[in-house]
């Protein structure tokens, strides 16, 4: 029997807004295992990790680490005890070198000065020992996302972490990079580290884990050895039912006469003297979903901002929405052209967390006649519209006056999608529409997008989640470094690993091949 390193007993967490994030969680983690924690987003994985890492305190229950009951008051205590965490969003300073980032907060001293020489030596040795292949004097800003992640992991090792928590580590990686990470994780395990792997990508979980713990609705659904579970069993444990993955069968193929919902022609934009969008041209037809794949930060965000009108920087090229040249129009004017937009950052751009659902769910059509009745807004009508949408989109809430900020991620996204859907768009931009939400909600959002597509809307789907793009899109483009690196006229027949080559910039199609994105 292996030694237990971490034990959770009856751990419960209630947030100030009343949400019970975790309830009576019991879990044991053994030394030297790779232990995955899976569950839908909003199931309480992140909260659990925050409690282990000392960011949040449990409302009740005990956490025992190495046989001692712990009460970490901050993550500093957890780090001192030997727990490291690699967050989904990296906590690095780009203008610092790798060494500087790693020693930050724990600098080796020589008198009152930092002993940079020793720090560099120690860090480099550590990097070599674990086969990271990093030059530790390089600036973080020059590194790829995958290498930055390595720096984050190295940071935890530098602080002698025995238990390393990885929060959705593969969400920013290409398939090849994920493979590499897994090799590394296995080597950590051999050296006696315990890995806590959090993910919602089940294939990866199956591939890497020794044991798997499932959380559903904040409640532990048990810990299983990887080999005693099939993929199907795992899925139904997570969502409480079977999942329907094949989106293709829901698509209908009506003829919309090749009409274009969006034409982007020769879009070019610079930022700080560097082109972030380099002569991008493509079109979205009515009744199709055009997928945009790519590692985050390769121009997709700028592209979306140019199309929606949120970008104020000057760019050249034309953007035509539903037949009208729109590149000089305001956001409102573009929305009036029947454009809808599901933004990536639902809390920052997509909702006002402090306001109730009613206010949030009408924000893009509050001037509609039934809602804004002459002098005053028609509150009974707003309630009616809200209640209908809450019901149709299965938003989990007690009342339409609940503030959006107190809903779970998936339910907030449903509010956003419901609102955009309700504008009856003919062109929709869906930017990471299911990023960080639970499987059930994601499935729901996918169905709604297909529904819109079948009704004749053109949808531009931008996502870093490859499975999502491949499952939903009719045609697909891959962006790398502000350019379209590849165009795939049939998204149903794509090999994921060859897509990865385009995403990493290892391969690029000819101008002629890429031209199909605009002209097909």
């Amino acid at each position: 029997m292996a030694e237990t390193i971490l034990k959770l007993e009856q751990v419960t967490k209630v947030y100030p807004n009343g949400t019970v994030a975790n309830r009576d969680i019991n879990m044991e983690f053994e030394k030297g295992e790779i232990h995955s924690i899976v569950g839908e987003n909003g199931a309480g994985k992140s909260t659990l990790m925050k409690m282990i890492f000392g960011i949040e305190a449990p409302s009740s229950g005990t956490i025992t680490y190495k046989g001692q009951e712990t009460h970490f008051s901050s993550s500093m205590d957890a780090i001192k005890a030997g727990i490291g965490m690699v967050h989904q969003h990296f906590m690095l300073i780009p203008s610092f070198s790798i060494v500087d980032n790693i020693i930050l907060g724990d600098e080796p001293k020589k008198g009152i000065f930092i002993n940079k020489k020793e720090a560099t030596k120690k860090t480099q040795e550590l990097s070599d020992k674990y086969g990271f292949e990093l030059d530790v004097t390089a600036l973080v800003s020059t590194l790829s996302v995958a290498k930055r992640q390595k720096v984050e992991i190295l940071k935890t090792l530098y602080r002698d972490a025995e238990l390393i928590i990885l929060d959705e580590p593969t969400s920013v990686l290409t398939p090849q990079e994920t493979e590499q990470l897994f090799v590394q994780l296995r080597s950590f395990k051999e050296q006696g580290h315990t890995i806590l792997f959090i993910s919602h990508k089940l294939e990866e979980v199956k591939k890497i884990s020794d044991r798997i713990s499932v959380i559903r609705n904040g409640i532990s659904k048990g810990t299983y050895r990887n080999d005693e579970l099939t993929m199907e069993q795992l899925t139904s444990l997570i969502i409480g039912r079977d999942l329907d993955n094949d989106m293709d069968k829901y698509k209908t193929h009506e003829n919309f006469e090749n009409k274009k919902a969006l034409v982007v022609d020769d879009l070019y934009m610079e930022m700080n003297g560097k082109p972030v969008l380099n002569h991008v041209s493509f079109a979205v037809k009515k009744g199709e979903i055009l997928g945009v794949a790519g590692v985050e930060g390769n121009g997709q965000g700028d592209l979306v901002n140019c199309i929606t009108g949120l970008e104020k920087t000057k760019y050249t090229g034309t953007i035509t929405i539903n037949g009208t040249e729109a590149s000089s129009l305001s956001i409102k004017q573009r929305r009036d052209l029947k454009m809808a937009y599901i933004p990536e950052d639902r809390m920052g751009d997509g909702t006002a967390g402090k306001l109730p659902i009613t206010d949030n769910i009408i924000s893009t059509y509050y001037e509609r006649e039934d809602i804004n009745h002459k002098l005053f807004m028609n509150h009974p009508a707003i309630d009616l519209v809200s209640d209908n949408l809450i019901r149709t989109f299965a938003v989990k809430t007690d009342s339409n006056k609940t503030t959006v900020g107190s809903l779970s991620g998936g339910n907030i996204q449903k509010v956003v999608v419901a609102r955009e859907y309700n504008t009856k768009p003919e062109f929709m931009i869906a930017e990471q529409p299911t990023h960080g939400i639970d499987i059930g909600s994601a499935e729901f959002v996918h169905h709604k997008l297909i529904e819109l597509r079948n009704a004749g809307a053109g949808i531009l789907l931008v996502s870093a989640d490859l499975n999502e793009v491949i499952d939903l899109a009719d045609r697909l483009i891959v962006m790398f470094d502000g350019e379209i690196a590849g165009y795939f006229p049939d998204a149903n027949h794509i090999d994921e690993s060859s897509l990865g080559m385009y995403m990493l910039g290892a391969k690029k199609q000819t101008a002629e091949e890429i031209g199909g994105a605009l002209n097909d």
Binding site: P16, V20, T308, L310, A352, M377
Partner: protein, 365 residues
């Protein structure tokens, strides 16, 4: 557990009820501390305490003074409330109170009309227009050039005082006083009382109308909706297609009109001539505190203004009988209430406990 108890439990976790409970607790604590302070400085603290609380009711003219003096403060509070509600931190009301006075003095000292009905209206209009136009400047600069409206508005406050001094000295200076002040207003310009013993004037009625209109605008109209959206999350408002520029200009103009109106009322009811450096003396800034106390809700702001002025009057009454207590004691009450209300942590632990209970109960079902 009985049904009634359950309902009470639920209501405390409701943010609105919680805010009200928090306000009451803050008021109670402030009064207790005031009483303790009175114990230290007054020979008869119990009597002093009750004089503060009931003094304004002891004579009609005391109560009348409350009614007259709270109106300009309420207008300043409304001006700040409308700006804060839409997420603008324009602190220019103070300067507007000062410079609108120039317009008031210019109209009040000229004989453009002999009607005692029309003359004050013209004065108020002139001040409102001045305020509306000048309040836009910081918001315009922010929307167009990204300047910090707080800094710009604060600097403008001083600039407006300087300009007002210059204008009065150059065009309207009275020859009889040594300080910088305008000539006396013509008698027709004064705002007349409708009911003199309680000093109820048309200004009081105007305030009530304005409050109701503002309440409707904020909570029932499209404009109010846009303001709430921009105030809660400006990026979300922009994303939804609301023009931040237009909204910033409209709300600033509205706030300026309110501040200008308040200034005119202050001058025409409480002075017979205009002195730039004696006009505002913090009314604009008090407005911000009132907006905070009233949670940016017009009705809340007016009630808060009345309460604060009532307590101040109570302290003044006390001063007549017991000079050992300075009337500034009310500042303690004000300060403590604002401190407690704006504190995120005050009563939070209590609320979290209630939520925990409720959440677990709901979960157990």
């Amino acid at each position: 557990m009985t049904k009634k108890e359950k309902k009470l439990n639920l209501s405390i976790t409701n943010p609105r009820v919680f805010d009200a409970v928090k306000l009451l607790c803050a008021l109670l604590i402030a009064l207790v501390i005031t009483f303790l302070v009175l114990c230290l400085i007054s020979k008869n603290p119990v009597k002093a305490f009750f004089t503060i609380l009931t003094g304004p009711l002891s004579k009609r003219r005391y109560f009348g003074a409350v009614i007259e003096s709270f109106i300009p403060y309420a207008f300043a509070g409304l001006a700040a409330g409308i700006l804060f509600k839409s997420g603008a931190f324009n602190l220019g009301a103070e300067g507007i109170y000062i410079i609108s006075g120039v317009s008031v003095a210019a109209v009040a000292c000229s004989s453009i009309t002999t009607s005692g009905f029309l003359h004050p209206i013209l004065c108020v209009l002139a001040a409102a227009v001045t305020g509306g136009v000048l309040m836009i400047i910081p918001s315009f600069l922010k929307a167009k050039f990204g300047t910090n409206e707080m800094v710009v508005s604060l600097m403008l406050n001083s600039i407006y005082l300087g300009i007002s001094m210059y204008l009065i000295r150059t065009f309207l200076l009275t020859k009889t006083t040594s300080t910088i002040g305008s000539k006396d207003y013509l008698p027709t310009a004064k705002i007349k009382y409708l009911y003199e013993p309680l000093r109820i004037s048309p200004a009081f009625i105007l305030l009530i109308i304005v409050t109701i209109v503002l309440y409707l605008v904020m909570f029932k109209t499209k404009l109010g909706y846009q303001m709430r959206l921009a105030g809660a999350n400006p990026k979300f408002a922009e994303y939804s297609g609301i023009s931040a520029f237009k909204l910033a200009i409209i709300t600033a103009a509205m706030a300026g009109v309110l501040a200008g109106t308040g200034s005119a009322i202050q001058l025409l009811t409480q002075s017979s001539f205009y002195q730039p450096d004696k006009t505002a003396t913090g009314i604009g800034f008090s407005g911000m505190l009132l907006a905070m106390l009233g949670r940016n809700n017009p009705i809340g702001i007016v009630v808060a203004s009345f309460l604060i002025k009532y307590l101040e009057q109570g302290a003044s009454v006390l001063y007549f009988s017991d000079t050992s207590v300075p009337s500034e004691i009310v500042a303690i009450v004000e300060g403590i209430i604002i401190l407690l209300i704006s504190s995120q942590y005050f009563l939070r632990g209590f609320r979290e406990k209630m939520l925990l209970k409720e959440g677990l109960k709901k979960d157990a079902k």
